[in-house]
Amino acid sequence: MIIAQDLSLQYKDGTFGLKNVNITLPKGKLIFITGPSGSGKTSFVKLILGMEKLTSGNLSVLNYDMKNITERELVLLRQDIGPIFQDFKLLDGRSVCDNVLVGMRFLKIEKEDMYEKALKALEKVGLSHKVHSMVENLSYGERQRIAIARAVARDPKIIIADEPTGNLDKNNSLIVLDLLRSFQNEDTTIIITTHATHLIKDVKDSLHIDVEEGNLQYKEAKYE
């Protein structure tokens, strides 16, 4: 699924985002990546999404070699990933439904199926009553749930949520984590980065990866 070998990411100013990472993230699991701010969680997410180019080592995501990935392959890879960003990256001036649909319009999905998937995802995140609302008129929590619906509606192989609990209180954080867990199945890997370790310590059937000074390691060594 995702395999990193001696993976390093060095920024232009010389600092390392990631250093000599060797790790494998298996398919169909719920994986938490934890660590303090600036430890390298987001850097890892950016490498998986192809937003940054690795400096050395190797990284394979869904069998794509990220070191030598072409622009065309990157487009195809991203179509298999459902990203949920910290700032949600919704399209203002468009409706809730349009924001969910836009993630599927260029995939090989028929129009009827596309609408069905969008409505189903919105129902799952509890926003089926706001299908036609404009996103800029919604609350923070609602906007986050639209981002989740957009990510999951297109049945991705990997769902990546970068700090989804970052700006939420404990109750809402747990609701969001439960919601994200509900999308996990044997074909879909869910990767969640968070610095709120206290919220995930009791989550069952999940793998926990610690990031410290640019290095990722499982808390339990079974996937090393």
């Binding site: 991203r78 990203p83 468009r94 649909l101 836009v102 260029f106 028929e110 129009k111 009827e112 596309m114």
Partner: protein, 293 residues
Amino acid sequence: MNRKVSNFYYYLKEVSTLFKKDLSTNILSLFSLSFIFFILSLVISVGISSQHIIDEIRSQAQISIYYNNEIDPTSIEAKISEIDGVNLVNLISSSQARERMKDVLGTDTRILDLFDYNPFSPYIEVFISLENLDVIVDQVGSIFGVELVRDNQEVLKQLENILNIVTVFGVFIFIAVSIATVVVTAHIIRQGIYLNKDGIGTLRLLGAPTYFIYAPFILTGIILSVLAGIISFIMSYFATDFIYSRLLGSLPFVVLPKFSGLIILLLLFNLLMGISLGFIGSLIGIKSTRTQK
């Protein structure tokens, strides 16, 4: 197919969103483009009309021969008929000449009533093959009794000079208009892309292909310049209608091209210009932002 139709509807919705996002700039650009197209339409109209008048004069290919009234014109007529390249010879009496002028003058025919006598001389009207004009004029001029051979070469030359100037002027205007349209459209698209760079970034991260991301921008450029073409056409229609009514009222002998034909030509021209220049401008706008990136 169903998805393609649905996506086209999405692109149109995006065009509307993009247009509204920078409404005042887009409206001003639309009217600037409309006036640019209008200027070009006027130049094109003048060019087409001049060419039409020249073609009409050429197609008539006729010379008028004035003779000594003391000589029997039938003998001159017989000699002219024998010349190679002469197609038809008619004797026009002074009263027929007067009637013809009445037709030319139209509503101003009363000017002829001011004369106590018929001021028109009889003449011989000769239809010829235009390529033999010079030889025929020489031969007719040497016939005994012929006093004046009048052809329309001078008029033709003057009109052709005007047409040449209009053509040169038109080519420059065409180039200027094309460049201005492409620059304006490219600028609008570049601005639209800049204003929507976050949305474009999001689409990229979601795996949207380049054509999907930029189709709304290309469509925006095309729609904007086609709208400009339509506005320009409407202005051209009224301007042409006004000019025609004025010209045909005061100069009824001017042979202008058919109004409906000219209008259809202007419509097609404006639409084609709008589509092609809008498309090129959009592509350049997109290309320039991608190069900058």
